[in-house]
Symmetry: D2
Subunit: 333 residues, 4 copies
């Protein structure tokens, strides 16, 4: 950690600060310049409150030079993590299509969609049973019943399932679910993350509405630090002043997360744009910039979907898209 001291700081205050820093067990290396004095702090600075030091009168600025994330950091783990779901592999060159409805609505619906997306090349089935909704008056999902219907669809198709968990207390219901999703609104529900860190199954972690890449990685760090190394990161659009699109899909996050971390990174173009006809171009773009997978909403009858029908592809549109995604992946490999 580097602390820059203002040029007009009194020698007494400077000495006092250095003494205090040393009292925390840190080595302090001082180098005086014309306009500033720079202190280099050596030792375990992870418990030092950077903001506090920065707020001192005599301090100009503070910079942390060692990373605050460890487990997720590519520096300390140069090879790509490959997440396994049964025989299926995600990351490290293994690309995956995840597809299914926003919400599970009925057995017929989920089985029919599961069969269709499998035929088009999807290798994981998505579907919401517990639904986080901005309004208490909106459809909140079939909950436990929805999870059972997902399992039926898995049995019929062999597709492993991924679905969102909103609350620790629901955890027992998810025992037989293949991949647990943490939604954008729960990205910083730290108790949930810690608990998921004790499981032995993959976690799909969505970036929060307005979270930075560092915060996303720190949330993944919560899971990994608790012992679970099977984390999949997901970019799903961030909140800006966008006028015609629901969120702003931050595709540059894909190569940047790959540089910072060894974890697989997938993209959700459905929630990012909120408009079905924007899903194909953004899916192709995600594949082109190196995403390890796509999670796409598909509904057999978007006009009657109980939620987010606007952003759902029909099975036919998904089929056409899957083929193009494949072509793009070949073109960039």
């Amino acid at each position: 950690m580097i602390v820059v001291i203002k040029s007009n700081a009194s020698p007494e205050k400077r000495t006092q600060l250095i003494k205090w820093l040393k009292s925390m067990g840190l080595g302090v290396h001082e180098s005086a310049g014309e306009f500033q004095t720079v202190l280099g702090l050596i030792g375990d600075t992870s418990r030092v409150d950077m903001d506090l030091i920065e707020s001192l009168d005599i301090v100009d600025s503070v910079k942390r030079v060692s990373e605050t994330f460890k487990c997720v950091n590519r520096k300390f783990h140069p090879e790509d993590t490959v997440v396994s779901v049964g025989d299926l592999k995600i990351g490290g060159g293994n690309f995956v299509l995840i597809a299914g409805p926003c919400s599970v609505e009925s057995e017929t619906q989920i089985v029919e969609i599961a069969k269709a997306v499998k035929a088009s090349g999807a290798s994981l089935l998505r579907g919401g049973a517990f639904k986080p909704r901005t309004s208490p008056y909106d459809f909140q999902g079939l909950k436990g019943e929805g999870l059972e219907l997902l399992k039926v669809a898995r049995q019929e198709t062999g597709l492993p399932i991924v679905t969102e968990i909103m609350n620790l207390k629901d955890l027992p219901l998810f025992e037989d679910i293949d991949v647990l999703q943490v939604g954008a609104r729960n990205m910083q529900n730290f108790d949930l993350l810690k608990e998921l860190g004790t499981l032995h199954k993959p976690i799909l972690l969505k970036r929060g509405l307005a979270n930075t890449l560092k915060e996303l990685l720190m949330s993944a760090e919560y899971i990994m630090a608790s012992g679970n190394e099977q984390v999949i990161l997901c970019e799903r659009g961030i909140r800006t002043y966008s006028d015609y699109l629901r969120n702003t899909l931050d595709l540059a996050a894909v190569p940047m997360l790959h540089e910072l971390s060894h974890l697989p990174v997938i993209v959700d173009p459905s929630h990012a744009t909120g408009i079905a006809r924007m899903v194909p171009p953004m899916s192709l773009a995600a594949a082109a910039c190196g995403a390890d997978g796509l999670i796409i909403e598909v509904h057999n009858d978007p006009a009657h979907a109980l939620c987010d029908g606007a952003q759902s592809l029909t099975p036919a549109a998904f089929d056409a898209l899957a083929k193009k995604v494949d072509s793009v992946r070949k073109a960039v490999s």
Copy 2:
């Protein structure tokens, strides 16, 4: 709800849409213009998926004309809600100073601060026992022990206490806490909100990192729709591209929330700016624009605080501030 149909829509598709809307039990009032046809939907449109209709080929745009929030809405409840904590009142002209440390650290610390802030005019004591932290390696609070220390401080001073609950499963520990705080990162933890809606004690609901006023009100609606009408809204700064301040304190939210809702609105200038010396001017500004209270971090030894020392006032600074806040309130009343 108003649906605007594109001028080039075929009569067949228009008829089909109208038929479908009627099948949902809605009355449809059609008025044709030169460039567009406007449909007015009459009946309970709260279950109609606006995004889905907007995504249809023939639809230009959709507008909801009835409010999606009911319980929190000033339209249906014109008088200010006054929240009671024992004898203490908040809202409807009753202004409250809430003060205390970011984290409870020890009995001496919390009792000493409680006495100091009470002497300066605070009428509620704040203090974190369960701390949401971006990094798993940062201090996470004294948890249950912290709650007990808060109660000791309450006994010593008579100040009711407000502290954050992060997780449903901790609820039993909060039975004897006066006001439960929902932190910014949990503003859309809907299961938590629903459960808090079943309690008979005040909830202090903080605006999320990047949430709109409507989303804040919808989260309050979750609590109220479950039966708890004692909700206090709190503006605490939102995320932008700000360079010198942690967040951007959105003070215009205060008069706007007062216009939209009958609930009391308080301001947290400590988390909004992250810098102790910015807290006094922003506290005065909040009082000037009509806030019903302030929640301010005070620490007897900011330099050794276990978290957020940078944004904590000393008791002396808080005392001076309390006097000025009082003067400003008199000036604007």
Copy 3:
């Protein structure tokens, strides 16, 4: 335009508003509902101040149903506009690579780079002569001399040139320039836009730092309304709270702008990310989602570039990228 009147509005005030609206020459169609009365305004509402009406006590909300942009609107001009630069065509299926240094620095530099990028498939040469810089102490470009050097490079290679104009008074210097660029900071310099609208040469209009798509289209409308139909839109990243990247590249803007407007849309991945190694993946993504071209910074010696060396590709990296872009375009066509 639709005006929604509050349910508690007095009949007198409602009558007064309707009278006032009629006094502006508008037809007013009233339809009363249980909770609101909706007024449909018929006639030329383009001069009606929507914000003013919305601010009236008795008005709940206002919605404009006809588009405010005309010339740029695909509704009134369904075919793609194809912009011509000599024999070169941009848009309507014609893809173009624009490449060159951030700043023109010397004859050797610009000629060498021009030859290299032409060999790799670029069909337009970019290079800054007038440079907008945040700091007055940063290199501001070679100005007139830079324009002359660009012309030398054009003569040597046959590549038409595109360069930024910052100021109306410099216009005479740009007479022999092929394409004039309006930079992000000047997107709403309306006097400049109007003047460029009187020229008979293509204008490359960059999206502003934090402008919406509608604002970008309205700025293009300024140029087109003045008579110049040769406008190329350019997405170059928008300002958010991004931590590891300079801006957030909003690639979904590409298909959305194509839907809203008939103008060609190109992408600048260099300014969007600010990091050379992010340029290839984002270029491929842009090509995959339908961009009509790319504008990429290339420098023969990035380490000694006078500005933005960090985001410049070497000629070799550009050559490799050009080939991949071509593959991706084939894959999605």
Copy 4:
């Protein structure tokens, strides 16, 4: 400047970087740590491209420790700048109310408003003659004629006038104007700033739509570096995802700008909120947190104003507000 080198950098590359830095005339002070090597660069680093160094493979991060702004910096100029307009003073404890219509519309209008706002305590008259409008079809101002009408109002009332200049070529028309305003959209029109720097009259510089405080100060630096020290900074709201307000008024910018710079800082609550009834509370808040003045839109007939009527106060509302602002200023002084 501090350069942090990655731990896995090869000694050859590190030596090469140090050699290159020295070739730019810099002293390099190396201090090796367990995980990183930190280089301290000594000398004139203002011409060093920080982004370029940061982009090198072996570099982890770069930090500038000396300020990039000089003239505007309070470090080098601790006393408040007091801007003079004739006998009127702004800053350094001198508070000023600036009021008037969005647009000058007629002699009667501007003279009547000028008299009214003077009677209520305004000491400067504002009024737009050249209007930047998002749409080319909106009213663009009376231009030269508007300037003449402002002068008539000045003659009638003695109030000095402030009005916006959009373009260098209009400069001769502004010779007899007291204070020139640079609008938000022109904050980074650097040629305009440079030219205004050569004048001997005060410049009111508005913060751009989405500009940081540093960028605002750098734009002021452009003016001051060209010789004009009479700069007034103006916070007018920034762009966010706000739903009920036009912009987000960033009031914490007031004390922060006062800390960073010696220049006076005023606030525009009219453009920040876009709603007349939000102007009084936000004006009081601005006064409470130390603003040196307010610039407020006042119109004698808001319902017929040619622009921004929605955000204009009536003279009576302004009169009431002026009295309250005065009370708040006394309360905080």
